[in-house]
Symmetry: C2
Subunit: 466 residues, 2 copies
């Protein structure tokens, strides 16, 4: 069939996506089977394997692609600039979160499977199925379809795949600085976000920032018997608990001095837009077994998660935590604590304010060690660029429902880095659902997210070529 008009070409590419979905899934399963957990040194070689797998795929598609070493896990960079016009840099990450608690997985996390729900809906279940292997492959498979059907991409495409997104993105900044000229494009496309709901596609324009900290408190120089020393010896779990308790105010705010400096109230116009989304807070919390918003009193759940900063305890450990009981006073106790930031908050200042808060609460004969785990400011992207409007239209056509702009409580540090280091805005377009259990056991990605995600990118590439 001769493909003459752009519209005919597009239909041909979309039809190819539909007919090749099983092959696309096979490739996703291959990538998922590589357990590329970036925070765990035991999986370093798996991160390299995932980078090499992606590079081979892109080379196959005719990209000029290579694995680029960094101080940490490597980057994958690829270019196909044969087309005229707009140049996009697509970003994704091939690393995944750890899988513990492993016991809660229904099937092994790195053995992907298709699960069919009672309502017939199919889901891809595995670590990384959504975050971010499933999402990033939607774009790669869209490029594959364009190449297969028309022999070329409709616009200039570069790709950057990172392997440290779940580990603080330590190598990203230096890498972007060194490769700035090579990577700078008209816009970055970042596929690491959610849709508004199962029917409604969305582009995210507000993202919270992040400060990650680990603290380790040492009291005695050895574990002690609580019978012999209990009462007289300082217990680091008690000290740590008192510090953690002190981080929150009774009304759900964060008690670190200066924490809210520079934080603005959400404008009424934006609140009005959010109201139209018909967000159901009871359903949002009810879906995970909760019913009472835990954040600042008087603020909606949407405001709490999109537009208000917070402090979360991500992990705590100390003493005996195995089976049974041990009457020990441990020498050490530790916690992993993160702050989600909004526009106006400086990550470095928040980190220092937190550390001062902790230090002021350490008894004179105890000590504290801080470890930094990444930091990035919040992001607010321009909500009205021409490419954004084209992407919204393409999404609306594909999903047959008005695409929406939204905020996100999560952090995507690369967006800030693109702005700061490359002077480049990002379009955050993703097909994940809020119930994907990313970072949790039994992570899933709807088969429809994967399929229509590929089709969405096919349309967006076409729209950008117009």
């Amino acid at each position: 069939m001769p493909q003459n008009t752009p519209s005919e070409k597009l239909e041909g590419v979309l039809a190819h996506v539909d007919s090749q979905l099983d092959a696309s899934l096979d490739r996703l399963f291959e990538l998922i089977r590589i357990p590329s957990i970036s925070t765990d040194p035991a999986h370093s070689s798996d991160c390299i394997k995932a980078a090499e797998w992606l590079t081979d795929e892109l080379l196959d598609l005719g990209f000029e692609a290579s694995v680029r070493p960094t101080g940490g896990h490597p980057m994958v960079v690829a270019h196909d600039k044969a087309a005229d016009g707009v140049h996009v840099l697509f970003y994704g990450h091939y690393d995944v979160q750890p899988v513990d608690p492993l016991a809660l997985w229904e099937t092994p996390p790195f053995e992907p499977r298709i699960k069919t729900n009672a309502d017939g809906k199919k889901q891809i279940v595995a670590r990384g199925s959504s975050d971010d292997k499933g999402q990033l492959l939607t774009f790669v498979e869209a490029c594959r379809a364009w190449k297969a059907v028309t022999g070329a991409l409709p616009i200039k495409v570069s790709s950057l795949f990172e392997g440290e997104e779940e580990a603080g993105s330590k190598s990203l900044g230096p890498f972007l600085d060194a490769a700035a000229a090579e990577l700078k494009a008209d816009v970055a496309l970042v596929c690491d976000t959610d849709m508004w709901d199962e029917q409604t596609p969305a582009i995210t324009t507000m993202l919270r920032g992040l400060v990650g900290e680990e603290i380790e408190i040492t009291c005695a120089n050895q574990d002690l018997h609580s019978g012999m020393f209990g009462n007289a010896a300082r217990n680091p779990l008690q000290v740590l608990s008192e510090i953690v308790a002190s981080l929150r105010t009774p009304d759900g705010g964060v008690a670190v001095a200066g924490f809210y400096d520079g934080v603005s109230e959400v404008p009424d116009s934006v609140k009005a837009q959010w109201a139209k989304l018909n967000f159901n807070a009871a359903e949002f919390l009810g879906g995970v077994g909760l019913s009472i918003p835990a954040g600042e009193e008087g603020r909606s759940v949407l405001e709490q998660t999109w537009a208000r900063p917070t402090c979360e305890i991500n992990g705590m450990s100390g003493g005996y935590t195995g089976e049974g009981f041990k009457t020990v006073i441990p020498a050490k106790a530790s916690a992993k604590i993160s702050f989600r930031l909004v526009a106006g908050q400086d990550p470095a200042k928040i980190r220092e304010a937190f550390r001062a808060h902790v230090r002021a609460r350490i008894p004179a004969d105890c000590s504290v060690k801080f470890t930094e785990h990444g930091g990035s400011p919040a992001i607010a992207l321009p909500p009205d660029s021409p490419l954004l409007r084209k992407a919204l239209a393409a999404l609306t056509t594909e999903w047959q429902k008005d695409a929406t702009l939204m905020g996100s409580g999560g952090s995507i540090p690369v967006v800030g880095e693109f702005t700061r280091r490359l002077g480049m805005d990002s379009l955050l377009i993703g097909f994940a659902q809020i119930d994907d259990r990313i970072h949790s056991p039994n992570e899933k990605y709807d088969l429809e997210s994967f399929h229509k995600g590929i089709r969405s990118w096919v349309r967006i590439l076409a729209a950008f070529a117009e």
Copy 2:
């Protein structure tokens, strides 16, 4: 050499102890090599092995001995009632504490070795070297020496060895009830306590009680991503920390309502006796790297650890605690918490008061699960019985230093059980040192404790026969 007088007999037995010390040590090492960790179901068969080992040794010595099954780990019971006069029941426990954190052990915990310090002092290093395998074998080896030299024991001896002392002694009460007639003796001898210092032998007459509790708090029904849910979703680590922080008052007391009901002040006469011990609080805390007593303000370290109740956090865990960072809001968080009790406090009432304290602080959409880990009241033993005076004199002769009476911050539930179920008092005589690191990595038992401990029991058995 004919042994005519009691004194000549005693000297002969003591000389035998000295000449056979290496063989005694070999037997201790054999027992230590059995990793009888009672709290860990993976080591159940090792507990049985340790019980069988002890039974075989006692049969070898001519005791009528057997392994007695219980609902948990078995008991070992042995009798040799050939002699006239006093009948003692010796109690020890063959189970040991878990060994984590394993990385802090200089050598494997169940491979015993003799370590020679710079000052020439020798120590037996291994899990259980002091608590309680080393201690209990001092008595068995004393019996062995009496049998070897004189062919008989000077008094009636029964033995009871338990395998659940470090796991809440769940089977002990029912077992004592069932075997009351068989086990009742004139006095129990319990070898699970310290000397006052390296030179000064001691008999312990005050022991704190214990209530062990585990709480698990559940908020969401799954682990959540802190970007997506952070601020709106209740964080169980935050809830748990606030509860733990609320357990203590700012002046170092315990904040649970009614906790101090029934607790008496230490009489001035007892405080005066303690003052004579020249206890050096700075040295006691300094030895473990601390300097500030953490308990109730205005009370001495000795009072805090011997005569005041306390609450200790023995373990806490929740969320991501591995390498690196994970921005998770966990579904669950848990803590192991124990209370050390003094005379006048009822373990059941304390447990209920604690649970009420916790329940009152659980948000309405979260839940808490309690698990009981043992409970025993505090003990105050009569400080002036004839057998106590004989034991003090025997200890004074062996160590060439006045033996003292003291209190202990630890709990030895069996003592309360002997009082309550068998109507039998206990003499608590042990040779451990405060720096033995029981329950901690690199546990040790001074070779002198082992050697002179055996000699001490040889003398005490002789004294009881007079």
